[in-house]
Subunit: 345 residues, 2 copies
């Protein structure tokens, strides 16, 4: 009896192993994991990198726990033009803010935002924008903020495509996220945008849980409400400015180890890619180049495209990328489609 049950367990274990390996192969071979990418250097670089770092017989093999991949969000995973979606959120919050604090109605920059004058709003200074961000992103409990942001992200629509912002993620990059995860990578968003804001939809939209979102973050303050219930209130105190040098600093703080792959699209991602590349062993560094005015937008002075303050891609960054073997992926040439709702390739 003992023998037969042990033997049965052994046979079951063998079956599981065989079926497991078979299923894995089946999934891997089932279809092209990067089907929205045109064949070319960028697509091949991703496929080669994943193959060699996950092949235990390869000198480039990386243990599963060290397979950390970081992705900028704005301009890398979803549309950032004409302006970051989170800024639209903050502007959209101003009427409710003024309703709660009527004394702001005649105070700038809130007065201009309330006027609805798009030209005047577009001319607001960085300092004015910071005032609006602080007033609409702090001062409430984290639960209240989450509820407000969730409601907005579920209903607000982009002006060009008339679709929810969450449908404006890049299908080729979604495929990279899925492909990396299917190969044992842990995928992180490392965004200059608000950490709390992105966490509201990261799981649903990217399959990335809140704890794998690193972003610009303010402090919170623990206290008790009138019923004695513990609450956390968002404070206007910057803890992490997750842009430029703040990206590797934030990665060290939040993740504690160096990524082996990093994806970005602007000078704000430069240090993250440098830091990723400075580790030992093979590393994947990729920049998305917005050169497709027809299907999305075209900006960045590299290759003669117009300059921009939203997602700046300088000639210096382009030169560093070329010099150090980073992949510059052209949306126009490398991507079969931009969005999931574009016709399937």
């Amino acid at each position: 009896m003992l023998y037969s049950s042990t033997r049965r367990a052994f046979v079951i274990a063998l079956l599981i192993a065989a079926l497991g390996a078979g299923a894995e192969r089946a999934v891997a071979e089932a279809s092209d994991p990067l089907s929205s990418w045109n064949d070319g250097a960028a697509k091949q670089a991703i496929l080669d990198f994943v193959k060699t770092t996950t092949d235990s017989s390869s000198p480039n093999f990386v243990a599963p726990e060290a397979r950390i991949a970081t992705f900028d969000q704005d301009g890398t995973l979803w549309v950032e033009h004409p302006i970051y979606s989170q800024v639209v959120y903050c502007l959209d919050r101003v009427p409710a803010l003024v309703k709660a604090k009527p004394e702001l109605a005649n105070v700038e920059p809130f007065k201009t935002v309330l006027s609805g004058d798009r030209e005047a709003i577009a001319k607001l200074s960085t300092h004015d924008l910071e005032k609006i961000l602080a007033a609409t992103l702090t001062g409430m409990t984290v639960d209240t903020f989450n509820a407000e942001a969730e409601k907005w992200i579920a209903t607000a629509k982009d002006g060009r495509w008339k679709r929810p912002y969450t449908e404006l993620t890049y299908q080729p990059m979604q495929e990279v996220l899925s492909y990396l995860r299917a190969n044992g990578f842990k995928t992180y968003i490392v965004t200059g945008g608000g950490q709390d804001f992105v966490r509201v939809y990261s799981r649903r939209v990217y399959g990335i849980p809140p704890e794998q979102v690193v972003g610009t973050a303010g402090g919170t303050k623990y206290s008790y409400d009138q019923d004695g219930k513990p609450i956390l209130t968002k404070e206007p105190k910057l803890l992490l400015n997750d842009n430029d040098a703040g990206k590797p600093e934030g990665i060290h703080f939040m993740i504690g180890r160096r990524p082996i792959a990093a994806f970005g699209n602007s000078t704000g991602d430069q240090q993250m890619l440098e830091y990723t590349g400075a580790g030992e062993g093979l590393r994947l560094k990729m920049l998305v180049l917005h050169d497709d005015a027809e299907r999305e937008y075209a900006y960045g002075p590299a290759e003669g495209l117009p300059d921009t303050k939203v997602g700046t891609f300088t000639q210096d960054l382009y030169d560093e990328a070329k010099r150090d073997g980073w992949i510059v992926s052209s949306m126009k040439n490398d991507w079969k489609r931009i969005f999931e709702f574009d016709s399937a390739p």
Copy 2:
């Protein structure tokens, strides 16, 4: 042909599901997952909590992605008396520090530490200790720090048991960590100790990866070394004081959602347990009471034990625990053994 291969895939899927469920049950029933715990209210509370939150037919069911459990380290997962292990590390680093900066040899508090006079060292003020911590935990690159701390933790030994500090983890709590993980929980350390310090050994010692360690943390600064290679340098700038109210604040910052289970042992964990308990649905809150002078230590004024500055457990905390249904686990009565090297139960 199409039909048969579809049908074959379906049969395989059924088989995998059936075998998977069977394997899971087999593992769960294989042996007592909390074998170092005496039968009693504390052990039963853990077993009941895990059973009801992971049973999809239970009203207390929690989706796997929300199964977040947080553990204090010092005094909850390993020995904290007579003094936190990390403080010993910092004191041990002083000779190397003075070798690199000889001008410190005659400056207090370094002079006292160098003297080796244990009584004088024990009398150093908090301010003096902070100077030593800042001088030994900051100013170097994160890679240098990791190498120094790794070397120390591999060789340094506790004075009482003459064993590496990493062997002084509590076996019953290690079992709780494993049991929770086997049931789909994500386990975090949320420590007042240094985040970078604990991350050096967290995977090896607790099975917890660096990114799941939240601790007291300073900022880092991104720059380039003389060869142009990117480096991160540890700065004496406090970003997160992960004690008291800092624990829920740190949890929100680093994890972004509320734990459903939290474990601590002192007033430094009070707010973490309150915050955990204030969420909707069933929550597990547990405090470890150090009441076993023979096998470990006995301290905290609760139940007449002596007070201490290291792991303070006030009568107020004890009263709050009893009032709000937190479990107070007695090391003396609830734990069959303290360490793995104690004779097996």
